[in-house]
């Protein structure tokens, strides 16, 4: 059974790797955004630290965000959206595999491929930028290991949240709108619009325990040493607990939506 999902994953992975020109253009864009953001925060920062964060930590945070942007965003396969709105999705019902699992494998394949295709060039360029604008090394080796671990959690979490957009598409029949709603909430609460460490502490105390911050905020903050390895382990456990809860919830919602789906012939 698992084999078919791995097959789906591989297929999407290879498909995504075909779009190299798109990736290069995307990298250039991300690079410009990164610079822009750092210059902006430089203008904001009048003192050396803000909420215990130095400018060099902040620029590392921004570059990591740009390097791994493909996994931070809430996306939905256009094919899925189209299939649901035009009704072709019913052909998939006849297959003997779980819809949620199939879409999950597809999406993770795409997300992983587009992340792997894009992150290295940005990291390499960012390392060689002038001081205060550049990406610094992780605080220590254990932090780096935890960073990689939490990045995997982030990829899964980002996609698990994306899956709710599919449910919304079933309900609203507007794929663009559904992805938009989920992503605008996620972007604000996960630190894509502004890094969470820059927010007022009282707000951070709430956001730290919501699922969105596990997408990218946790790994980046472990990397720059803003969260100690001890604290990081605790957060990692909370994150995985959220992941399980959200997957179960998402699975049931999709099941419910599929049950309610009326196919109008044609």
């Amino acid at each position: 059974m698992l084999k078919s999902y791995i097959g789906i994953f591989k297929m999407e992975f290879k498909g995504e790797l075909q779009y190299r020109a798109k990736a290069i253009s995307g990298i250039a864009t991300q690079f410009f955004w990164g610079l822009l953001q750092i210059y902006l925060y430089m203008a904001f920062m009048t003192s050396d630290t803000i909420n215990g964060l130095t400018l060099s930590q902040l620029s590392s945070y921004v570059w990591l965000g740009q390097a791994f942007f493909a996994m931070r965003f809430i996306t939905m396969n256009k094919k899925i959206g189209k299939d649901i709105t035009n009704g072709n999705v019913c052909y998939k019902f006849v297959r003997p595999i779980d819809m949620y699992d199939q879409w999950y494998a597809e999406g993770i394949g795409q997300k992983l491929a587009s992340t792997l295709l894009r992150f290295a060039p940005i990291i390499i360029i960012a390392i060689f930028l002038p001081p205060n604008l550049r990406l610094y090394a992780p605080v220590n080796f254990i932090a780096f290991v935890l960073f990689v671990l939490s990045l995997i959690l982030g990829l899964l979490m980002s996609h698990t949240i994306s899956m709710f957009a599919i449910f919304l598409t079933f309900k609203t029949l507007s794929d663009k709108g559904s992805v938009g709603i989920v992503s605008s909430i996620s972007n604000l609460l996960s630190g894509v619009i502004i890094p969470l460490p820059l927010l007022p502490l009282s707000l951070q105390n709430i956001l730290n325990y919501l699922p969105f911050r596990f997408i990218s905020d946790l790994p980046f903050r472990i990397y720059i040493g803003n969260i100690s390895t001890h604290e990081g382990l605790i957060y990692l456990a909370i994150g995985f607990a959220w992941l399980i809860v959200l997957i179960i919830l998402g699975k049931n919602l999709i099941k419910y939506a599929l049950k309610k789906t009326i196919i109008q012939g044609g």
């Binding site: 864009t29 430089m42 203008a43 507007s174 938009g180 909430i185 502004i194």
Partner: protein, 259 residues
């Protein structure tokens, strides 16, 4: 008039998918509110950015949020120009005895941007009410010119990238930096960025002309001569000329993609 017919047609066609339209519009407003919230929270932490207060910065955001949806609504044909090329509609436009620009304007009107436009106007009003300004006739005129300048500069960028897409057929993501990059940059006073960035976005793409330049005249702050600040929106509007010339040149070179 022909444009009236275009308008009627687009209203009819978008109201065919009413819920979809409302949903998309609602969602776009939500994105903008999220962005305003983000800026508000940043200002909670820092109170002043390079001497600008939250409401002063909010006014710049209000300008961007007004002029951008305006162009996206009424100049959508240029914004999504690659679609006109790919679908072959451009070829059909070229053989009709009506001005090409007129037809591109009429090819698409995006009504889902209207709520966003209203939000932009609301934000501008909220900001203006909360800033102490000694109003006089000239300042009102400068403010109006600022909005018109914003509309023309962003429209110029749309026309320019449409001109480029005649050669590339597809909309390159990199070109988006020009439009979306300018937009995000203009959320804050442009002069807070690094010198080279400020220069590019003052002299090459005149974002500053609907951003901190006219506002420093209206708010009476800054070191740049006031008369220069006052006429800056007029200078910014000139940006449209080379963009249109470039577009016409590209169109002259246009070879159809075939069917």
């Amino acid at each position: 008039m022909l444009y009236k017919n275009y308008l009627k047609m687009h209203i009819k066609s978008s109201f065919q998918y009413r819920y979809n339209m409302i949903f998309i519009a609602f969602n776009q407003v939500l994105i903008n509110i999220g962005e305003v919230l983000a800026v508000y929270l940043l200002f909670q932490q820092f109170t002043l950015v390079a001497g600008w207060t939250f409401y002063q910065s909010l006014l710049m955001m209000g300008i961007v949020f007004t002029v951008f949806p305006f162009d996206e609504c009424f100049a959508r044909g240029y914004d999504e120009f690659p679609q006109l090329i790919q679908s072959g509609d451009l070829d059909r436009f070229l053989i009709r005895p009506v001005n090409i620009h007129y037809q591109i304007f009429g090819s698409k009107i995006e009504f889902t941007k209207i709520p966003r436009l209203l939000l932009g106007i609301t934000i501008s009003i909220i900001a203006l009410v909360n800033i102490n300004i000694d109003w006089n006739i000239l300042k009102v005129l400068v403010l109006i010119a600022t909005y018109i300048c914003g509309i023309s500069v962003i429209f110029g960028l749309f026309v320019f990238s449409a001109g480029i897409s005649i050669f590339t057929v597809e909309n390159l993501e990199f070109i988006n930096i020009l439009t979306n990059g300018s937009k995000e940059l203009a959320y804050y006073p442009i002069n807070i960025y690094a010198k080279w960035l400020t220069r590019i976005f003052t002299y090459i793409i005149p974002i500053a002309c609907f951003n901190y330049l006219p506002l420093s005249y209206i708010l009476e702050i800054g070191t740049i001569p006031p008369w220069l600040c006052a006429i800056s929106p007029l200078l910014g509007m000139l940006f449209l000329i080379p963009c249109v010339l470039f577009f016409n040149y590209s169109l002259h070179k246009y070879k159809s993609t075939g069917t």
